[in-house]
């Protein structure tokens, strides 16, 4: 089979695309330059009774940017649609990618159609669809989430199987058995870069949000009382938080994520402490709310304690290590020691920052009238913290949650980049970048593709956070 070009049968369109893209870039630069000299926007009444806002050079550039952007979007859709409709390999690499990602496109379309249709009933999530930035960010994030879900269908080759003829081959090289192509080329061991990046998204999408959630549980459980009570407790907890924050992150990783540390059982001890917080948080949450209805409360507390406790023991313990509580039969969740230490250290690094944010918000919110009202009513402190203060702090916390998932993704990449924790065979983006960077002079794509993937995911999360901030400020 022939090697693929980037756009295959649609190559006739390329000059048009390049011309429009160049014009778009020029228009943006012109608009920025003109915005310095352009007068303030004024509305001019025309003789025929209509009004026109802003004309002249600036108006033209603004219009040009809008239309050129639309044209670019249309062209991109044409490339993707052609790739999906025409047979695999006809529209080059881009068409091939578009076809492989078909389940993702369909899911995105369904998700967006449903969300936009019912956006007025969906609260803050629905409001997200009022902001363009937020929508773009959410689309990028969901693209990777769906890729992770459908990863096995999307990937063209096995992530570990090596074809020695395909070492460092450029994108679009056909495999020697003529069964297909390496869409984004082969890496230094002759593995398919595309499949590895797609399956690598699984690791990030699984670990990053969960680790961030745990960090938030720890930060909230400790930050609420520190801000609310103040005094000695606050001094002590703040000192601890500052202690961890003063640690250079990489040094901490190098000290924590080593095989020697895993051998001492330290990650499991740390997990024992850190994973306790979500359960404590939920128990206190329920207890403070349903304290007055003991029957209901006891039922809910028991359920949480049993399920949470089982998950806790199953997650922390592992047969054959220092912490082995459950027998192998009952232990449903098997987390390898090196993944656990990666998870724990990411939670450990993130929680002090969350703690500081929560503490700061609580210090601000606790001076409000509704808190005094609750205190006068005789509500107990934990009820006030969890059911009066926390719901009112949700805006900044949700925004920070999105940003922090992005930051956690970067941290995971850093760990992979230094070859810490995850095995070098693992397809996660950090390890792949690390493997690819060593041969940058020979082949660039093995490092570039995961780098762009990681960048796009973090960018999506940042844009999403920006959109959410805008919309939550509008309340």
């Amino acid at each position: 089979m022939d090697p693929l070009t980037w756009t295959g049968a649609l190559s006739v369109l390329n000059p048009v695309t390049i011309a429009i893209a160049a014009a778009f870039a020029l228009a943006i630069i012109a608009q920025i330059a003109l915005s310095f000299v352009a007068p303030e926007p004024t509305i001019v009444a025309n003789p025929d009774g209509t009004v026109a806002a802003r004309g002249g050079a600036y108006g033209t550039s603004e219009k040009a940017v809008r239309w050129l952007f639309l044209a670019l979007v249309v062209l991109a859709v044409v490339y993707l649609l052609a790739g999906v409709v025409m047979p695999y390999g006809k529209v080059g690499i881009i068409g091939g990618l578009a076809k492989r990602f078909l389940p993702v496109w369909l899911s995105l379309i369904v998700l967006y159609a449903v969300s936009i249709r019912y956006k007025r009933r969906l609260g803050l999530y629905g409001k997200l669809f009022d902001s363009t930035i937020g929508m773009i960010g959410f689309a990028i994030v969901m693209f990777w989430v769906f890729s992770a879900i459908f990863a096995t269908t999307i990937a063209t080759h096995d992530v570990l199987s090596q074809i020695s003829q395909m070492k460092n081959k450029v994108p679009g090289t056909p495999t020697p058995d003529d069964m297909g192509w390496y869409l984004l080329g082969g890496d230094h061991l002759g593995r398919d870069v595309f499949s590895r990046v797609v399956l690598g998204s699984r690791i990030v999408v699984q670990i990053a949000p969960l680790a961030t959630l745990f960090a938030f549980m720890v930060g909230i459980t400790l930050g609420l009382p520190a801000g609310y009570y103040g005094g000695k407790l606050d001094t002590f907890l703040s000192f601890l938080a500052n202690l961890i924050l003063a640690f250079p992150v990489i040094l901490l990783f190098y000290l924590l994520v080593t095989p020697e540390i895993v051998a001492t059982g330290m990650p499991q001890y740390m997990a024992m402490v850190l994973f306790l917080f979500p359960i404590v948080f939920l128990l206190v949450l329920v207890n403070s709310r349903y304290y007055v209805v003991p029957a209901l409360r006891n039922k809910m507390m028991t359920i949480i304690a049993v399920i949470g406790g089982y998950l806790y023991l199953s997650l922390v313990g592992e047969v054959g290590t220092k912490v082995a509580v459950l027998p192998n039969m009952l232990d449903l969740i098997h987390v390898p020691g090196n993944i656990l230490i990666v998870f724990v250290s990411v939670v450990f690094v993130n929680s002090p920052t969350v703690f500081r944010i929560v503490r700061g918000i609580v210090l601000d919110v606790k001076t409000r009238d509704y808190v005094s009202a609750a205190q006068t009513r005789g509500e107990r402190p934990w009820y006030i913290m969890l059911w009066e203060i926390l719901p009112n702090a949700r805006g900044p916390l949700i925004v920070d949650f999105c940003l922090r998932i992005g930051y956690t993704t970067i941290l995971l990449g850093t760990l992979g980049f230094f070859g810490l924790g995850l095995s070098p065979e693992s397809p996660d983006w950090g390890s792949t970048i690390n493997a690819g960077r060593k041969l940058m002079t020979v082949a660039q794509h093995p490092a570039i593709v995961p780098a762009l993937a990681l960048m796009s995911l973090v960018l999506g999360l940042n844009l999403l956070a920006d959109g959410l901030r805008e919309e939550s400020l509008r309340d």
Binding site: F247, P248, G436, A451, L454, L459
Partner: protein, 347 residues
Amino acid sequence: MLIFLLRRLLTMVLTALCLTFVVFFLTNLPPNLEKLAKTEAGSRITDEEVQSWLDKNGHGSPLLVRYGEWLGVIPGWTREENGVTTGRCIQRGQDPETASSFCGVLQGKWGFSSVFKDEVSTIVGTRLSLTGILMFWVMVVMVPVSLIIGVLAGMREGSKLDRSLSTFSIATTATPEYVSGVILIAVFASSMFGLKWFKGTASSAMDGITFENFFLPVITIALYGIGYIARMTRASMTEVMTAQYIRTARLKGVSFRNVVMKHALRNALIAPFTVIMLQFPWLLNGVVIVETLFNYKGFGWTLVSAAGNNDIDLLLGCSVVAVFVVLVTQLISDIGYVFLNPRIRIS
């Protein structure tokens, strides 16, 4: 003010003690020491031999005692065997009588690197100076660029310029050093686009810095920081631009340029100062990544190789420096904030 300073200094010393103890604890865990013994005395030795080697070299005493010895507040261990006295503070061939009894970090004895076969203090010194050069150029690029971007974006909130620059800042904060570094190398230093403008490694920069071999590492570190500082500056600038005195100045008929340059700028730059100082710990992070990526043998590279090779003394030395840098910048940022902001008074 003096009491404030004293309290800050006290907290700083306490933090430093806690942090160094944690590092000491983590680097001196039994598996690490066992590995050290095996690299020093041969990899096929038995467990008893490992134990005796550790005892002989002073690793057998309790953790707190060893920490005290390393810090220099507890007299170093000595051992007499077959009439020969060895000890922590006694160098080979030195008369035990003349050796000092304390030798720790406080006395300037940082130990001996088992990988580089040199005094830790000299290694850290030379490496730090290399990193210092890198940091200097990063600051030279990063601070003015980010401040200009932030001020331009913040002076007219919601304008096209603001939107473009804010998007740029978001994009750079979303690009960690190992991603931007890889992309920059691919674009500007490899055959991918044929633009071989710069060098993809900075190992030659240790002998002589040229634009060609130093531009990429500097810009890689700077880019990640630029977005963050620019966003902080923008937030601070937009806040100042909505203040009453700016409106007053505009109503008085002061031109927009003068309002920005004379009235807004000075007040808007207080917050970014703190942010820039607090960026140092982050830069440390970036330095480690970039020095590894570009093979520039500075402080970050040393830290990585010390950690990777179980070089305990060197790793401890690097940690002390890193922790010291972080704490000092925190202190400076706090004090500077108080000095710069007339609204804050500490009595």
